[in-house]
């Protein structure tokens, strides 16, 4: 069943066209990884899906409803955003950050109730960060911050999570821990759309891949089909080799490294 459809969307920013005629569709429980070099339009595409950018041509549909016509709070109940780890001016407590996810379920003037706190705490518990709930967000590690933002997305009750380079800035161990959480959640029926700079991760998630280059879709499909030596070499303009290891895992290796 198609959840999100991007239908021949073009978008331009200050007269420069950033996306040309991009189409894609995401089903429930999918993990879509958007690959592409810097400036290829990945973040723009994510923002279009989140309703933050309005398409110049074409449409983004959430179950046949144009995203641009949905109220922010209705959209927020369905799609949550996990931004890149950012610098924050104020050191909110972790729990306070997760609680913000409850806003779309509240009337315009509101106070958080007991159930909001409960939902926020159980989202934190789900990601094993409940013990950090009273710590300032600015004082925990990058991985914990990312988990905090995912917990917020879960508390938001949305079943689709849009993540902008979720592993950016994380150490190797945290990257892997994060990816396995994403896989786990996807198995539970959560849908993920993420931009990433790591084709290996796309392969590992066993989801679908969309390759963007200069605002155009250059390849699309299941990760193991779409991520090939040719497509990667072309996309990043670096000779790449996609091979299977002896234990059956597909890896991407720069040709230069193979000697």
């Amino acid at each position: 069943m198609t959840l999100i459809t991007v239908d021949r969307v073009s978008f331009s920013y200050n007269g420069t066209t950033v996306l040309h005629d991009v189409s894609l569709s995401v089903g429930k429980g999918d993990i879509l990884s958007v690959l592409g070099p810097n400036g290829s339009g990945k973040t723009t595409l994510l923002k279009l899906i989140l309703g933050l950018n309005k398409p110049l041509k074409g449409d983004v549909l959430l179950e046949r409803h144009p995203v641009k016509s949905l109220q922010p709070r209705i959209l927020a109940q369905r799609i949550a955003y996990v931004p890149q780890i950012h610098h924050m001016a104020f050191s909110f407590r972790m729990l306070d950050v997760v609680m913000m996810g409850r806003i779309p379920h509240k009337p315009f003037f509101f106070r958080y109730g007991k159930d909001d706190k409960h939902l926020a705490e159980s989202a934190m518990d789900r990601l094993n960060i409940l013990h950090l709930k009273d710590r300032p967000y600015t004082a925990v590690s990058g991985g914990e911050r990312q988990l905090c933002l995912i917990a917020r997305a879960l508390a938001q009750g949305a079943r689709t999570l849009v993540m902008d380079e979720p592993v950016g800035g994380l150490d190797y161990g945290n990257q892997i821990r994060l990816l396995s959480i994403v896989r786990e959640l996807a198995r539970e029926g959560y849908t993920f759309i993420q931009s990433t700079h790591f084709p290996d991760h796309a392969l590992w998630m066993a989801g679908r891949v969309l390759m963007l280059n200069k605002g155009r879709v250059v390849a699309e499909g299941m990760a193991e089909k779409a991520v090939t030596s040719e497509s990667l070499s072309e996309l990043y303009r670096v000779p790449m080799d996609v091979t299977q290891t002896m234990c059956g895992v597909t890896v991407c290796v720069p040709e230069e490294m193979r000697g």
């Binding site: 922010p72 799609i79 949550a80 050191s91 913000m100 958080y112 938001q156």
Partner: protein
């Protein structure tokens, strides 16, 4: 009792005590017994001494000190809350309520009225009107260009503030140097000496309403300090919330100018101080900074009227105390924001 609840009640009690204490403070000697006599006289109608004294006491306590105390509480709360709201909304702890030009506009309005119309009411109306107009101008300027809305607002505020500051200079230049110019200069230094019950009666409602609205919007301020786009993806109607915050903060700041002239630094220092007490969560920070702001300005005003026979303009005092305080706060502020 949770920690924020404890902080809030402690500050409330302190504020109540300070307000009562301020009733006893002043150049005119009034003792606690006098106040007791006065209270019993007002409630039971039996003067313990002679009636003449009671009239004088009523004059001092109810006509002179009470409006000043209420004025200080309102102005202090209004300035700190607008400062806090702006700091959260602009994701910048160095922002003050004058960011969008409201103080520059109000200063110009008051000065303009002082030289062209000759009534106290017109000064108030012009200060309020031009304060709002200056913010309107910066919002209009911000709309003229594409780009980051917050940044454009700040730039709009700079332009609008500079414009009205320039107009103020023109008015000062045109003013006659004997009476009008000093009147403008002294007015700009701020002070609560001319606050009367009549003025308060017409202003406390909008100030209190804005305070309530901003407190009600405080959960959104948390979300807004994550950035506009992120807030939007959390279902926050960013434009509506931001406009409401700006309108309320502008209304309150402009009304403080009407009440007390230009009082600087309160809207910058008090939010910091409060954030150190309560943390950055606006749901507690907003009401807490209203209370601390009120307490701070009340103390400043007591100093202003007590220190010498001559009154030190309140705006000078808040700046003199605020700046070193700010230096200290910045040094220790890593805890509240980094």
């Amino acid at each position: 009792m949770t920690k924020p609840a404890f902080t809030l009640s402690a500050v409330t009690i302190l504020l109540a005590l300070a307000a009562l204490g301020s009733l006893l403070l002043g150049r005119y000697p009034v003792s606690l017994t006098d106040v007791g006599h006065f209270a019993s006289w007002s409630f039971h109608g039996c003067p313990p001494g002679n009636g003449q004294d009671m009239d004088m006491l009523r004059n001092i306590l109810l006509d002179i000190r009470l409006p000043r105390i209420i004025g200080a509480v309102l102005v202090g709360a209004a300035l700190s809350v607008s400062g806090t709201a702006y700091q959260s909304m602009f994701i910048n702890p160095l922002v003050s309520p004058g960011l969008l030009g409201v103080l520059a506009g109000a200063s110009f309005g008051a000065a303009f009225s002082m030289i062209f119309f000759h009534s106290l009411l017109s000064v108030k109306i012009c200060a309020f009107g031009f304060g709002c107009a200056a913010v309107g101008l910066s919002m209009l300027l911000a709309r003229m260009y594409n780009g980051d809305r917050l940044l454009m607002l700040i730039l709009g505020g700079i332009v609008s503030g500079a414009f009205f500051t320039a107009l103020l200079s023109v008015v000062k230049y045109l003013a006659d140097p004997y009476n009008q110019l000093p009147a403008i200069v002294f007015w700009l230094m701020g002070g609560l000496s001319s606050v009367s019950m009549d003025t308060l009666a017409s202003l406390w409602v909008p100030v209190l309403l804005s305070l309530i609205v901003l407190t009600a919007l405080s959960p959104y301020m948390n979300a807004l300090s994550m950035g506009d786009e992120e807030a939007r993806t959390m279902g926050v109607p960013v434009g509506l919330v931001r406009t409401t915050i700006i309108v309320c903060a502008t209304l309150m700041s402009a009304l403080t100018v009407v009440l007390a002239g230009i009082i600087g630094w309160v809207g910058l220092v008090v939010p910091h101080l409060t954030r150190m007490l309560t943390g950055p969560d606006n749901r507690i920070l907003i009401p807490a900074s209203a209370l601390t702001g009120a307490l701070y300005l009340l103390a400043m005003d007591d100093l202003s009227r007590m220190l010498f026979t001559v009154e030190i303009p309140l705006g000078i005092l808040t700046a003199l105390c605020g700046i070193p305080f700010f230096v200290l706060v910045l040094k220790n502020a890593r805890k509240g924001w980094s």
